[in-house]
């Protein structure tokens, strides 16, 4: 009886365990999709829902159903350094260098050599294409960007590439690459292309720097000339003002001198008119008195014409 009971209870125990296991198996189909991902729900390998939104979902347990999750909201980035001269071990340029012995670079339309590094930001736009159409999406993306860079630079001048054309190149790269990605059903979308580093190769960098310096020098020479000009023009204006002021002074002096003199003359004339002879004589002697003391030698000659005029000291010591 006890034996029977034991067998019965153990049977029941196994039965319960089986039930639990089956429940667990069924429950294993519950899964969740995080905010940034979508799920692709497959049954026996066939896609039955290509776009499972974030949240808690149920799929039949293995091996019937399978859910692949793909990040769609997360922006990823790759650095395209295939055309840089960075020869670190393990980098893409290094692989090329090892194979050919050449430093990687890119050729511009006017046959100049440049090194270029660009960064690409992209995300998954079509999870089904991304997972099931292309095997090496990132590798293909890299190849297509390289291809776009080569084609783009092959039709541009080196000056444009190095200086003012960067924005244009970025736009061309973005549209060209996206076009190719779409035609190949890559399931990727490029959100941003940035030219990180565009420069001439190291050996000719100096010559390019010289051009930049020459440009600066040109500006310097011109601005020096301009500053000299800015100095000289005010100086000239000052000189001009001085000349004019001098002339004005001359004019005023001349006029006031005329006034002074004529006034004096007027006074003298007044006196002269009153007593003509006397005034004239007085003026004459005044003049003699004023002038003669300064004269070193005075010779007095007789009208008759004596050959040896007597030197008479009249004024010196008296």
């Amino acid at each position: 009886m006890e034996m029977k009971n034991a067998i019965l209870s153990s049977k029941r125990f196994i039965f319960y365990i089986l039930i639990v296991l089956i429940l667990l198996y069924i429950a294993s189909g519950i899964y969740s999709i995080p905010q940034t991902q979508v799920g692709i729900h497959q049954r026996f390998g066939r896609i039955i829902n290509p776009n499972v939104k974030p949240g808690i979902h149920y799929a039949l347990p293995w091996p019937i159903d399978k859910v692949d999750k793909v990040s769609v909201m997360i922006v990823q980035r790759i650095l395209i350094d295939d055309f840089s001269s960075n020869l670190e071990q393990g980098s893409t340029p290094y692989a090329f260098y090892k194979m050919t012995g050449l430093t990687p670079n890119c050729i511009s339309g006017d046959n100049n050599i440049v090194n270029i590094i660009c960064a690409i930001q992209y995300s998954v736009s079509n999870p089904v294409d991304y997972l099931f159409r292309i095997k090496d999406n990132e590798r293909l993306l890299r190849d297509i960007v390289c291809n776009s860079i080569i084609k783009c630079l092959a039709a541009l001048q080196v000056d444009e590439i190095l200086t003012y054309g960067k924005r244009k190149i970025e736009n061309i790269l973005k549209t060209q690459t996206q076009k190719k990605l779409d035609s190949l059903n890559c399931g990727l979308i490029i959100s941003f292309v940035e030219l990180r580093d565009v420069r001439p190769p190291g050996t000719v960098q100096g010559a390019f720097d010289d051009v930049i310096n020459a440009k600066i020098d040109r500006r310097k020479i011109v601005s020096q000339a301009e500053s000299r000009r800015n100095e000289r023009l005010p100086q000239a204006n000052a000189t001009a003002t001085k000349i004019i002021e001098k002339a004005k002074t001359y004019k005023v002096e001349k006029i006031s001198a005329a006034h002074g003199e004529t006034q004096r003359f007027g006074k003298q004339l007044e006196a002269y008119r009153e007593m003509k002879k006397v005034t004239k004589k007085r003026l004459y002697f005044e003049f003699v008195k004023q002038v003669f003391p300064d004269i070193e030698k005075v010779y007095i000659v007789d009208k008759e014409g004596n050959k040896n005029p007597a030197k008479i000291k009249i004024f010196s010591d008296n």
Partner: protein, 295 residues
């Protein structure tokens, strides 16, 4: 009890059989079912399929997704004998799994064959083009796209027939010059830059000279203008003064002459001058008389 055990045994056998004869094909692959090496079915749609159990039929899974390969760098001569090193990428996929399975065995070997094929096509195609068609400042001359399309078309035909694969895209991945050419390009680049730098300096000097000349001109103009104005002012002064003099002196020209001559003489007779006077002159009028009395 016995029937129960029998049922259980049958169930187990069915389950085991199912395990060995049911298989799924997913979206990433083709399946070719072979019977002792001989292909019997090609499954291109994903889903659940039956086969004869165990070793009776084998499932060969073949990649359905497109793959990318990079060709070996190859040095070629263009139509104008310019050497160029080219690497391409090739995007390809298996389009006919049966042919693929029969022709070759592994993807690696296929990739190598595709690479060789593309390289040989490059060699024959690029002979039709010059360096102008590869790089040019005139975008309409650049024929890279055309070259890629030609290679794609020609390689596609060969590949589909031979290997059961489809080439989706061929693109140039790298263009480079051989070492010697690179050196000469560097030298030319240097020379060009030097020329440009000199040009900038010359331009600067020229512009500076222009500014200098302009400044010289303007300074001269300013000074000349000032001198002119000054002369006019002086002239005005002179004229006005003369007017004043004329007005005053015309009252008695005789007296004016007299005073002026006195003034002029006092200007002329400065220190250290020697004066010779006649005894007839006005100041000796009286002295003469005294002299005569002395005698």
């Amino acid at each position: 009890m016995k029937t129960k055990i029998l049922l259980l045994a049958i169930a187990v056998i069915v389950l085991v059989l199912a395990c060995y004869s049911l298989f799924t094909v997913n979206e990433k692959e083709f399946v070719v079912v072979t019977r002792f090496g001989k292909p019997v079915r090609t499954l291109e749609q994903a889903g659940l399929y039956f086969k004869r159990p165990g070793f009776l039929e084998t499932v060969n899974r073949i990649e359905k997704r497109a793959k990318v390969l990079k060709t070996q760098p190859i040095q070629l001569l263009l139509g104008d004998k310019n050497p160029l090193i080219i690497t391409c990428y090739v995007c390809w996929k298996i389009s006919d799994p049966l042919t693929f399975l029969q022709s070759l065995t592994s993807s690696d070997i296929v990739e190598q064959k595709i690479g060789d094929m593309v390289n040989s096509l490059l060699g024959s195609t690029l002979g039709d083009y010059t360096i102008e068609n590869i790089i040019s400042v005139r975008p309409e001359l650049v024929k890279l796209e055309e070259i890629e399309v030609r290679i794609l078309e020609e390689s596609e035909q060969k590949a589909t027939e031979k290997y059961g694969i489809k080439i989706i895209d061929v693109g140039i991945r790298r263009l480079a010059y051989p070492q010697i050419v690179t050196q000469s390009v560097y030298n030319r680049m240097r020379a060009e830059r030097e020329k440009e730098a000199k040009k900038y300096l010359a331009e600067g000097k020229e512009e500076a000279a222009k500014i200098e000349a302009q400044t010289d001109k303007e300074v001269a103009q300013i000074i000349a203008e000032a001198n002119k104005e000054a002369e006019i002012l002086k002239g005005q002064g002179d004229k006005e003064a003369m007017g004043i003099y004329a007005e005053a002196y015309s009252q008695d020209p005789g007296f004016f002459e007299f005073t002026k001559s006195l003034e002029a003489c006092s200007e002329v007779l400065k220190k250290k001058s020697t004066l010779i006077l006649s005894t007839e002159s006005e100041i000796f009028k009286y002295l003469k008389y005294t002299e005569k009395t002395d005698e």
